[in-house]
């Protein structure tokens, strides 16, 4: 599990669902925010014709947070237990939660729980939702047939 793959699942998951699933793991570390959470923007880029040169389409709101795990009120190893979270929109708790999970995933004792008890079920839930949406789209798929003129 790379942190990029985990970040993707956690950012795509609605915050309420993420918080609920996270609470089930019972991992409650001490941490401090080292950056943010802060709300800003990302400039969204498109490509001409979908494949060509980039152009600036417009901005979107984006929230980021960075946290550091603490032991008895003291910051632990800064190199390994910093966590970062990024999420579209303005939900500071969502960004902070992603950052906390990211930091915790760097501790060996929690890695398996986070992978199996959090990311995997959330990924399954996302896949199920997407599957259902694709089924809705598929229900509107048509087969046009051209009429012969004069018939």
């Amino acid at each position: 599990m790379t942190s990029a793959r985990r970040q993707r699942i956690l950012a795509l998951t609605p915050r309420e669902r993420l918080a609920e699933q996270w609470a089930r793991l019972g991992i409650t570390p001490d941490y401090r925010c080292v950056r943010g959470p802060e709300v800003g923007m990302a400039m969204v880029r498109g490509r001409m014709g979908g494949t060509g040169n980039a152009f600036n389409l417009g901005e979107m709101t984006l929230t980021r947070a960075s946290v550091q795990l603490m032991n008895d009120g003291v910051a632990t190893d800064a190199d390994t237990e910093l966590g970062h979270g990024w999420v579209k929109g303005r939900d500071t708790r969502h960004a902070e939660l992603i950052a906390v999970v990211d930091a915790c995933a760097k501790r060996r004792e929690w890695q398996a729980d986070i992978e199996e008890g959090l990311v995997a079920p959330l990924e399954q839930a996302l896949d199920a939702e997407r599957h259902e949406q694709a089924q809705r789209a598929a229900a509107t798929r048509v087969d046009f047939f051209t009429m012969v003129r004069g018939e």
């Binding site: 400039m43 709101t61 984006l62 970062h84 048509v142």
Partner: protein, 384 residues
Amino acid sequence: MYVAVKGGEQAIANAHRWLADRRRGPRDTPELEVPQVEGQLRLAVSRVMAEASLYDPELAALAIKQASGDMVEAVFLLRAYRTTLPRLAETVPLDTAAMRIERRISATYKDIPGGQVLGPTYDYTHRLLDFLQLANAEVAPPAEAEETLADCPQVLEMLDAEGLIEREEDDGAEPYDITRDPPDFPVDRATRLQMLARGDEGYLLALGYSTQRGYGRNHPFAGEIRLGTVEVEIVVEECDAPLCIGEIEISECQMINQFGGSRETAPQFTRGYGLAFGHNERKTMAMALVDRALRAEELGETATGPAQQAEFVLAHADSVEAAGFVSHLKLPHYVDFQSELELLRRLRREHTTRIEAAGSDVDTPADNVTPRASHNDPVKEQQA
């Protein structure tokens, strides 16, 4: 020119208080909630996000509520909010080929991989008012097919593979950003697309329509229109790989246009491109028509229609700028108008004097008629 004035604080406060009351409407109906606007006026939300150039459905919904449904005002509100936020990142260019499709149609090929997918569309509705909605009738959930949707590759890639259409390749050029530096005409296509993406839909629609009616015809086909969601990735220094921050709704239109060629290059179809936040199908179609029209010079065409005049089209496309300059006419122009009055009275006196001097000759020679002096009018400046 207008001059600053003071006073009127109480009147302004009371006007805004009355406005708030008007916005709230009759108190015996429930207040409109922002999630209702976001969830039930989705296309309005899309339009405000696209033209404000900020993707945030909740804030766009708030802007619509606050503006009492005035879309241009809502765009202005969201655009103003945008200036309060720092920019934290730039995204990797969206991969629209990887879009999770809600709607995807092509008017150029009947049978396309993935198929024609209508999605939630107003097309094929009868445009009859649905009086059941007056009574808030129950709405059935959407139908679901047994099978899921197959992959939907970009339709124009099929033509591209045959070399029938001009290729769109990334040469790695860093796009100009009009939010950092004001556009300096003539502008490149990346700048044009950024300006068109935030351009007023009605304006772009009219210009696109004008090309169809012959003012810069470019013979378009809707090669592909797709609406759906794409994942957005950013590059940050904390991580080597791009990070997904969520997904956004997006609309894309790929127009296939008349072909050109030269002694050196074989004839090929050309392209027009439209892309917009949210579900904005009409906007992206208009944008693609105007994008193609604005490529006239690049493609060696003679510019004959207004939609092909880049500076004219782009300098007037932004509803915030346009509304701002038109609205400034409401500001006090008392001094400016007084000077015009003075000038007019003097000209009329001189006119009367000339007439009287000429005796009973009432035929005023045409060159004695002075045009109305206007702002920046050299006639006025010479006479003043």
